[in-house]
């Protein structure tokens, strides 16, 4: 088989753009630390394990020339990916776990809907269809198989305000049930991503159905991204996300490094 001339290869053009800086890589990932909050469940229920690290050796009697650690965490710890199998609505779907999702799905464009002002004003801000329609009026229709990312600037908050637990539970922005269903059925989105600890609003337990982002997205084989950072550095459209989770057999999700490729206008 003959290779195409280098200059005309799409990947070669892409590599040259990367090297030349016209395509930038933006890291949307929080550093995994023991202190990073995990989702809070009622204490009698099973809990998501926080990130923990134990040193195996550090150039010492446990291993003289090498440093390494063992770590442990849950599938939904830190910046992480939700597979359809995560939710009961997606449990019967084909290719619904992190190890069976087609790898091509780990590369997809992103639309970033900026709700940062609204979220700052109201921690319980709920994304609605009209809000998205207004965004589309400005930036164009959301293309099929694109991520929709909710920019709230939540990632800039210190931990206590990030989780924002009040006496009636967590308060953080998220989508209304109708808009999630609409995004899936009418925009054929790839998945839904947020800066907050879940794809759903802090108070989404009280929605109908509860946790609609999980309910509709996973029920239709779509994905979730949570605890994203740096969404404020993305353009409303045009970014390409690289979101490959760990290949865990029958995994419901996985911590991952989320990278956004952004083209700088010449």
């Amino acid at each position: 088989m003959n290779a195409r001339p280098a200059a005309t290869s799409a990947l070669a053009v892409f590599a040259a753009a990367l090297a030349g800086g016209t395509i930038r890589v933006i890291d949307l990932t929080h550093t995994l630390t023991p202190e990073f909050p995990t989702i809070v469940m009622p204490p009698e229920l099973g809990q998501c394990a926080p990130f923990r690290m134990e040193e195996v050796s550090r150039y010492d009697e446990r291993g003289p020339a090498w440093y390494w650690n063992n770590f442990s965490m849950g599938e939904h710890t830190g910046t992480h990916f939700d597979a359809p199998i995560h939710w009961v609505t997606g449990k019967e779907l084909a290719d619904n776990a992190v190890d069976t999702i087609p790898p091509v799905h780990f590369l997809a464009p992103a639309c970033v809907i900026d709700c940062s002002a609204e979220s700052t004003a109201n921690a319980d801000f709920v994304l609605t269809i009209p809000f998205v329609e207004a965004w589309e009026a400005k930036h164009g229709r959301i293309p099929p198989r694109a991520w929709v990312l909710l920019r709230t600037d939540w990632h800039k908050r210190p931990p206590r305000e990030y989780v924002n637990l009040l006496d009636d539970g967590p308060h953080s922005p998220g989508p209304a049930p109708a808009v999630v269903r609409w995004l899936v059925e009418h925009r054929d989105v790839h998945g839904f991503g947020t800066e907050t600890i879940g794809t759903d609003a802090g108070q989404a337990a009280h929605f109908t159905p509860p946790y609609p982002a999980h309910h509709y997205m996973h029920g239709r084989g779509r994905y979730g991204l949570q605890c994203l950072a740096n969404l404020d550095q993305l353009p409303p459209t045009g970014a390409l996300l690289l979101t490959a989770p760990l290949k865990i057999r029958q995994g419901s999700g996985s911590p991952l490094r989320v990278l956004a490729l952004v083209e700088t206008p010449p």
Partner: protein, 413 residues
């Protein structure tokens, strides 16, 4: 009257820390009967089953009738000091740096004479109450206490060698989030601790009583998550050299047995929070505490574990929890041996179900966190090693003595 202790000056950080030394800890096997009593704060001597003669020093036959049945029993502790002396020179390195040191011959009302340490408020000819205490070597010694308590008697310099009194000590309460931790902070602060460090994990997670906790005088909140090795290492790096008493209040009681638990997530959490948590605290705070066992008035004194009494015998309703507690108990025995060279005691407070949400369905009697905290302060003041707090704990203890197999069956019924 005992001269009241004065708050120690802040230590000159350039001064050499006095190395911990121990009084001689070698004992005959029989003499450990005294240690067993002292560990629980009881005064027990051998009592001949056949003739009733009360014996001391410990021996292997009755010195009146030669019976071999000479078990340790609680006996009356009253007596009179027949003679006293102040030792001014000693061949032993531990006592050599603690002279002058008073001892005396006490004629016990119940029979034998007992050469014992003398409390400073006890004079020759006085009536005394004998108590068995654990010395820095972890072995029982008797100290003759005033027959009626005297002012500041707990501050006596010889007595304080035998106790872990929180007064003017700096105490770390590892978890201030739960009811027990908060009760402990209050009790320890009231007992005169100079600083109460209060550990908090997940500071982003608010909790009831948080504001009040932070306002208790002497409280310094520190970030501490005993499930996170790095957190324990970091906090120990900051404060371990100032922790004289460590009280591990981190708890994780969960209902459920072994077989029906549906996986290991909860059991793993139990082991991580309780057993591995204990190991992390031991590894990061233990060595510094051990090195500071003779560091003046506020020398490191005690590592306190709050254990379920079901560490001693599994309670199948809380079967996995009991097992984790048993693992902790075993680890504390190792820790006790490891801290002994510093003269630092390991106190195990055994409690039955606490009156908290995690034992909601358990019928009374249940132990209030405040009662557990009060008992802990009391145990520290006495320097005892094993305390059975509340009705359930004492019941389990007594039933274990009588017939452990019956207890096993009855707890599982």
């Amino acid at each position: 009257m005992t001269e009241p202790l004065i708050r120690p000056r802040r230590k000159d950080p350039l001064r050499k820390t006095r190395e911990p030394l121990l009084p001689q800890g070698i004992r005959s096997r029989t003499a450990f009967g005294l240690t067993a009593a002292a560990a629980e704060g009881r005064f027990a001597l051998q009592v001949c089953t056949d003739c009733g003669c009360i014996l001391y020093p410990p021996r292997d036959a009755c010195s009146r009738c030669l019976s071999g049945r000479v078990p340790f029993r609680d006996v009356p502790s009253g007596g009179v000091v027949l003679a006293e002396t102040t030792i001014r020179t000693s061949t032993d390195v531990y006592f050599r740096e603690r002279t002058p040191w008073r001892i005396g011959t006490v004629a016990l009302d119940c029979g034998p004479s007992f050469v014992a340490h003398l409390h400073g408020d006890v004079a020759e000819g006085a009536r005394v109450r004998m108590t068995l205490r654990l010395d820095k070597s972890g072995n029982a010694v008797a100290i003759a206490m005033p027959d009626t308590p005297t002012e500041h008697q707990e501050d006596d310099v010889q007595l304080r060698e035998l106790t872990c009194d929180p007064k003017f000590r700096r105490v770390l309460i590892t978890d201030g989030r739960n009811a027990t931790g908060q009760a402990m902070v209050r009790a320890i602060a009231t007992a005169g601790a100079s600083i109460v460090f209060v550990g908090l994990a997940d500071p982003w997670k608010p909790f009831p009583g948080e504001a009040a906790l932070r306002e208790i005088p002497g409280v310094e909140v520190v970030s501490l998550d005993i499930t996170d090795s790095q957190s324990v290492a970091d906090t120990a790096g900051e404060i371990a050299h100032r922790v004289d008493i460590l009280v591990n209040t981190t708890e994780h009681p969960r209902i459920g047995g072994i077989m029906g638990r549906h996986g290991l997530t909860v059991a793993r959490e139990e082991m991580d929070i309780r057993y591995f948590g204990l190991l992390r605290l031991a590894q990061h705070f233990g060595p510094t505490m051990r090195a500071r066992g003779a560091d003046g008035v506020n020398a490191a004194a005690a590592f306190v574990n709050l254990l379920s009494v079901h560490a001693l015998m599994n309670w199948p309703l809380y079967g996995a929890f009991s097992a984790a507690e048993a693992a902790c108990l075993s680890a504390t025995q190792a820790l006790r041996a490891e801290l002994r060279s510093g003269g630092v005691k390991v106190l195990n407070m055994f409690a039955g179900p606490l009156d908290t949400e995690w034992f909601q369905s358990v019928p009374p009697p249940k132990l209030s966190p405040a009662a557990l905290a009060t008992a802990t302060v009391d145990a520290l003041r006495k320097g005892i090693e094993d305390a059975y707090v509340g009705d359930v704990a004492q019941d389990i203890r007594a039933r274990l003595d009588v017939q452990p197999k019956a207890l096993e069956r009855e707890l599982g019924a």
